[in-house]
Amino acid sequence: MSGASTPAPAPSSLPDRLPREPRWKALLKSERFVLGAIGVVGFLILWEALARSGSINVQFFASPTMIAAAGAREVQDPGFWSDFFISLTEFLSGFLVAIVLGIPLGLAAGWFPKLNYALDPWLNFFNALPRVALLPILVIAFGLGIWSKIAVVFLGAFFAIVIPTVQGVRTVDRKYLDVATSFRASRRLLFTSVVGLATVPFIVTGLRLGMARALIGVVTGELYAATEGLGVIIRRSAETRQGDRMLFGVLIFTLSGIIGVELVRAVERRFQKWRPEGFRR
């Protein structure tokens, strides 16, 4: 028999404590951050170079500097801001109404089985249906203005919020209910102390999905039929081959999406303090 050994590391010369680095230094050492930065900057440079050399058509794929210039022009234009606020109004009103109506309905449909059974087929249908398909009816009913867009935003977000909420109430762990009932908690207390709180993560999931759906609603509604809004900017710029202005419009939607995700995440952190790290969604 021969022996095999793990290589002997250097003798004990390990410091007992490493000096803590400033945050920015640690960031520069993080592979993730460095590679991410290289990815962003590298792709932007490549894009710019391709656009300048004429390899890609800037009427479609305007270069990053062109988009930035278009952005600088747009933000000084009051017309842009009026379109922006139209889109913002559509988004906020539709989404807020969806929250205000969706959460109570979801809680009720989860709590009362009969209501749940009665609503289930309809919820399933509207969940499987792309709600933007309802735009033609909504335009007929509410016209080309802001109301048809608010309606499609509402429909997009509403079902995305209701369905996880129902799911949340229905999957509350039985043992917590047993604890509450064994302490003779009233039905009202049962709801506020157990069901409501246990459902919060599901509601937050609904908010996140609903937010994305609401944004899709704004874009699609305005691309489909509208006279004002950011979607109209995108559509008109495409028709007139202003790639820079079009992509600036897309960029605004990207930024809105990122801000929205971060906001929902902040809500999530606020409500999930009691969850162990690994179980946070």
Binding site: V40, N116, P130, I137, V218, V219
Partner: protein
């Protein structure tokens, strides 16, 4: 009333906590829901409480469904004054009779089977393309850490963007046609698939990876024996989510630029104020979504053989 199927937990637990409940209840109250909605829906426009143009009635939808499914795919038209052809779309057969010279065949744009087939093709090709590329990209991102770090910011940005906003650009680049639809459907579906698969690779359990390492499994074997099987549930979930998004893609792509397909049918009927047809198209679309979701769920269950029933 029997609650025998329930575990014998404290009797004080309110009876309404008997989910998922007896199937008979489910069917009964489901039916009650339909019995409330359908007559109301039929009566509202009939009594003139809602304008027929904003809310068609179930009976009108059924009759238009029969008409558009059974009408011929093409009409033989004897005279074809071009300025009239658009009106043929509107109201079916009546112009056929107005006799004149050249006999020609005109497609019936309201023929539902052919519209459904067009959309189904766009859907299947776009979605399958998205599934293949999305799964491969997700696995690659999960396996190669540096690659993931490199593209992560872009991935996050695109994921936060409502990609519908790029449809005008896609129309500019690809023109109007099959390719444009495929690209839209693909773009709508791919990222949710990629990101779900990526989280699946991350969800491979440490104890299983440790087992493989402890037996000195090769990199390739670690992938096929641990990472891939652990990701299967995520791959299927991603495909289910992607299937929903792909349907959004089909509808929007056809809404914004098309001359055939279910989205075209809905949009065309909308611009001609035929709400019955719009609603029929919407119902067919929803049914299509339900069927596809159910199919993928079946496949999911098949792959679940090695898992205890969690849900």
């Amino acid at each position: 009333m029997s609650a025998a199927a329930q575990p014998a937990v404290g009797r004080a637990v309110p009876r309404r906590w008997r989910f998922p409940g007896r199937p008979s209840d489910r069917v009964l109250y489901g039916l009650i829901g339909f019995l409330i909605v359908l007559p109301l829906w039929e009566l509202l426009p009939t009594l003139g409480l809602v304008k027929r143009v904003t809310l068609s009635s179930p009976s009108a939808i059924v009759s238009v469904a029969i008409q558009d499914f059974t009408s011929p795919a093409e009409y033989l038209r004897i005279n074809a004054p071009l300025n009239l052809s658009s009106r043929v779309w509107n109201s079916g057969y009546e112009y056929i009779a107005s006799v004149d010279t050249w006999p020609i065949m005109v497609p019936n744009v309201l023929h539902l089977p052919s519209n459904l087939w067009v959309s189904a093709q766009e859907y299947m090709v776009g979605f399958l393309l998205a599934a293949v590329t999305g799964i491969l990209l997700g696995l690659a991102l999960g396996l190669f850490r540096r690659f993931r770090y490199l593209v992560e910011p872009w991935l996050d940005a695109i994921n936060a963007t409502p990609t519908i906003a790029l449809v005008p650009l896609i129309i500019l680049v690809f023109g109007i046609g099959f390719t444009q639809k495929i690209v839209v459907v693909w773009l709508e579906a791919i990222f949710v698939i990629t990101l779900t698969v990526l989280s699946g690779v991350g969800a491979a359990e440490k104890k299983h990876l440790d087992t493989a390492l402890s037996f000195k499994a090769s990199r390739r074997l670690r992938f096929t024996s641990v990472i891939l099987p652990s990701s299967v549930p995520f791959i299927l979930t991603g495909m289910r989510l992607g299937a929903t998004r792909a349907l959004v893609g089909v509808v929007v792509a056809e809404f914004l630029a098309s001359n055939a397909g279910l989205g075209f049918y809905i949009n065309f009927s909308g611009t001609t104020l035929r709400t019955d047809r719009v609603m029929l198209g919407v119902i067919l679309l929803g049914m299509f979504g339900i069927i596809v979701g159910e199919l993928i769920r079946r496949i999911e269950r098949r792959f679940d053989k090695w898992r205890p029933a969690l849900r």
